[in-house]
Symmetry: C2
Subunit: 362 residues, 2 copies
């Protein structure tokens, strides 16, 4: 495929500068094989925040160049519970791609593709629906938990019930072997491998590889208010946050409501400031010492918040710059998405051809 | 689209002869509009039989040239309950197309297309899954009844539960306005129109037409053994049945087990021979008179079976000839399917483009 992406020198230098800053800290995940195919992505329901950076983006940056990697912007999956917010979802496809580039994703090493433009994934989904029972989908703990969390009850959209199947289509479409997930998403991997085994049995050949979970070692980062961080609650710190926003958000962070004076003993568990310090402060011994002081009394909230603010300003500043730069280079951004999606289209259609043959469809 | 179908003169003359024989008997359905778009089809799980001919094929022949019509060979839908019989399904795609041509379908007037080769239908299905709840699908009486009939219970494949959605994708993909169905399939039409209204609301424009049911006036023809005619039970008389087969099947037909001697009173209800005579004998007054005689006693099974055999031999002979002719012209048959599918691909992709826009996917 001939490239029509011309990286202008300022874009290229921002990219190189960005990679220098972010690739270094994260080591290669344990158990990674050079021939691994990593498939992961995000629903474009909002911009990404530090929780995404801590939990997955920096791992993805670390994976670059060490294996094949595709980031799928899952706009169709976002519609499975947000069909009323279609234009919101559409508007966030480019925002999420910007966040990827801001975090240090290099499009020459990682494919960025848009799910809804990959017809083969829809065809795989429709084929796989024949291999999974309704009862099996209803037992899926992830679906169960998400149904409860969203209060859908029995009136869940069929697309939501079927979303583990669509996810299996995504993973197998790229013949993914390694899927970064949280503990709670392990049943998805299991469901995917069940489908893989059924397709291989139909084909009487190993046309699809089974996949392994790449579990994140970072605990889930809470939102600034102590609740679960969520794109819709707006309680995350975005990768493009201004210096003023960072200051404001850090100083309004939930700590320990019982810790009124600096001399009071304070709780470090459920304390959002410490959760962020543990995730981002490179001086882990220093953070542990602060935790001890805070718990025994004698350390004020303002002190720890100032330290956190310094850490976050340092981490976010280059991401914010890169994000602003690529946001001005919309034609570059769109070429990245278009070329990535074209590459992904070729790969997934090749998989579809094999799976169709397993179903005797030629 | 340039045509690479060259109808050889013998094929063409068989076609013309066939049309003369079959178009005449069936009048245009009541309520047909010249701008109607008819979408109908069959699952390729076996060859078609006289039940299909009486219930739908002859109506389709009558519709030809009076409106736009597409026959969809629904191989994907067949897989929703037969994924273990994939090669059986694949092998019957051409068989069903042969049955269409045998029955008098003229590929220059009617589009014959294969569902699994229409990627846009899978994409529409995946989009529509977001517009229908699981509870709504479970309430669908057709799905309920079919689940009971097939004994799937809760272990139904997800593809089977979702098949009204896939059917809505088929109908709307062609922007169908008239769908020939049995009474029992009316809920499908309702489900499709619900989806149509939701898509139009999302689009804030009437991008999809609502569809109407074209109810068959012919009661469902039983199998030769008196049970429901089914491709899998093998109790139908196929359109390519040999003269010997027709004779054998008619003379083994289920009549009235209490009607031992010709002089006995006989039941005409549940009597398969009379069901077929009512469906196919052009002399309806004669059949009504025979029914009276049979009920009062004095008419033997052999007499009515001989009459039915004559009628069926006359109806099937030209279909058998046409079927054999097209079966020898496999390259013609394949070109018919390929060109029909290409036309259908263009139409359904045009619909998909409109529906994607409604979901803000561009």
């Amino acid at each position: 495929m001939s490239s029509d992406i011309t990286i202008r020198s300022d874009v290229a230098s921002a990219q190189t500068a960005g990679n220098r800053k972010f690739i270094e800290p994260a080591p290669a995940p344990v158990g990674l094989r050079p021939d691994d195919v990593v498939l992961t992505g995000d629903r474009p329901t909002g911009v990404l925040h530090l929780g995404h950076y801590a939990g997955s983006l920096r791992t993805r940056v670390a994976l670059q160049g060490r294996c094949s990697q595709t980031l799928l912007i899952a706009d169709l999956q976002a519609l499975s519970d947000s069909s009323g917010r279609a234009s919101h979802v559409a508007a966030h496809v480019e925002e999420v791609a910007l966040d990827y580039l801001a975090a240090g994703i290099d499009p020459s090493l990682t494919t960025i593709a848009v799910q809804s433009r990959l017809a083969a994934l829809a065809e795989l989904t429709v084929l796989y629906l024949n291999l999974v029972t309704v009862a099996r989908l209803e037992r899926n703990p992830t679906v169960k938990a998400e149904i409860e969390a969203r209060g859908f009850d029995r009136d869940i959209p069929a697309g939501f019930l079927c979303y583990p199947v669509s996810q299996a289509a995504d993973i197998t479409g790229f013949r993914g072997t390694l899927v970064p997930v949280g503990e709670d998403q392990l049943p998805m991997i299991e469901q995917t491998n069940e489908i893989v085994r059924r397709v291989n049995r139909l084909a009487d050949a190993g046309i699809l590889p089974q996949c392994r979970a790449l579990l994140s070692s970072t605990p889930r980062l809470p939102g600034t208010d102590g609740r679960k961080a969520s794109k819709s609650l707006g309680n995350g710190i975005s990768l493009g946050a201004s210096a003023t926003d960072i200051r404001r958000l850090v100083h309004a962070m939930y700590t320990d409501p019982g810790h009124v004076r600096a001399s009071d003993c304070g709780r470090v568990e459920d304390n959002v400031v410490f959760a962020y310090l543990r995730a981002f402060d490179p001086d882990t011994d220093g953070v542990a010492e602060l935790e001890r002081q805070y718990a025994h009394g004698g350390l004020g909230d303002v002190t720890i918040k100032r330290r956190l603010e310094d850490v976050l300003q340092q981490i976010i500043a280059p991401m914010r710059e890169r994000r602003a730069l690529f946001a001005r280079e919309l034609s570059f951004l769109r070429a990245v998405i278009r070329e990535g999606t074209e590459r992904a289209d070729a790969v997934t259609h090749d998989t579809l051809r094999r799976v169709r043959a397993a179903f005797a469809l030629t």
